[in-house]
């Protein structure tokens, strides 16, 4: 017959062991807690103020003269056209062409203003437009047409963008720029950015040599795109 000899110390230890074993058996719980994030690369831009060239007189080109072509390889190529250059300081320069003529007569003048909002904070964004003046692309042109019955047309191009508010263009017009036709900027700490825009209006051949542009309002538009 086997005999086991236990001391009181052994007894106490065994009793304690039984109790702890019961306590720890199921005293855990595990969950799968969730993590979420939303990728939202949409970015909004809206015009708060349109581009205003004020009042002017202008005559069209001779039929043999090249129209205003706008920016090509950074250097504007005005052809033989006269043009109106909108400046950052709310002024307009009128420059005569070969036979075409232009002059300003006051009125409301000023750069366009765009607001970018809802973007990522302190984040680089890119602004593009076919009419941007840059180093290595041919800028597109947009018709700016009279609202009268003659539908006289000027050509808008040479778009410049100021993204830092200090009255100069951030267009990539320097040598070595590899990202032509794109203007870079950075949103502020709230994801917002204000951009101003200026450009140039060129005279065209109106069908009759050196015809005076029809009096009245002229309107047109250009597309400005913002992306990350």
């Amino acid at each position: 017959m086997n005999r086991r000899i236990l001391s009181p110390t052994n007894t106490l230890s065994l009793s304690l062991l039984l109790f702890l074993s019961g306590q720890g058996a199921l005293a855990t719980d595990t969950i799968n807690a969730t993590v979420g994030v939303t990728v939202d690369a949409t970015i909004a831009i809206s015009q708060t103020t349109g581009m205003r060239f004020g009042n002017f007189f202008m005559t069209g080109n001779d039929s043999s003269e090249t129209g205003g072509d706008g920016a090509l390889a950074a250097a504007r190529q005005a052809g033989d056209s006269a043009y109106l250059q909108l400046n950052w300081d709310d002024t307009v320069d009128a420059v005569d062409g070969l036979t075409a003529r232009a002059s300003t007569v006051g009125g409301t003048v000023g750069p366009a203003v765009f607001s970018i909002s809802g973007a990522a904070f302190n984040s680089p964004v890119r602004l593009t437009a076919p009419e941007l003046i840059d180093t290595d692309s041919t800028a597109g042109t947009q018709d700016v047409t009279s609202l009268g019955g003659l539908s006289h047309v000027m050509k808008f191009t040479d778009l410049e963008l100021d993204t830092d508010g200090i009255d100069d263009a951030e267009n990539n017009t320097g040598a070595g720029d590899t990202d032509a036709a794109t203007v870079h900027a950075v949103t502020d700490a709230s994801g917002n950015l204000t951009v101003r825009a200026i450009g140039r209006l060129y005279s065209t051949d109106l069908g009759t040599d050196n015809l005076l542009y029809e009096g009245g309002a002229y309107t047109g538009s250009y597309t400005l795109t913002v992306s990350y």
């Binding site: 005999r3 074993s21 690369a41 990522a120 990350y228």
Partner: protein, 232 residues
Amino acid sequence: MKTVITKVSARQVLASLLGLSLSSGLFAGADTGTIDANSVSALAMSQSQGMLFGRVVAVGNAGGEIPAGGSLALGIAPNPGNSASIVMDLTGALALGVGLTASINNLDTTGTLGTINVTGGEANTVVRFSSPQMLDFDIEASTAPIADGVSGDVFHFTDLIMDTDTPLDGVMNNPTISDGYCCVGTVEGTTDVSGNLTVTTAGRLYTVELAAPNQTYTNAGYTGSYELTVSY
């Protein structure tokens, strides 16, 4: 004095042993004792608020950038590799980590902490939280995918930190080297007088290489989960 037990049943042995402990070691014949074992299996945990990083814009890693999810919490300091990251602290504040070519930017100022409720515990008792994604001082935290489930684009979540103080103080209770902490990968908390405890969680999301180098993350809601265990 010695106690001698002959051939008896286990029940009798236990009863005898308890009898000994209650009778100051004096054994005077067999008796039937009772056993009271209290299994506290009621310890439970549930999430009342998921962790949310808000809205971001992100560009994935380029090919060859390490890793396809830079995301190892090793030696307390997260090792992001070449990934970009967005990290939330236990106040909900968001900060960005710059990648090599990857990027991430936030559209919201703050995120939302995860909130976990422990109930049914012992009163005023230390409980331990563990997770494979836990940031600590000597293990490599694993990652949990956070995906939109459609595009295949994915972030990696890891570097889990926890605030287990009562009241919550916005500071992580994860062990650090200077703590001399005994149990890596474990964060401790203490239940209240009712056996309950509320903790908050935060962590970090890393970019990975997507289907193409430096591809922009697809617009969508991304979700995933991390495993969290509570025990005594």
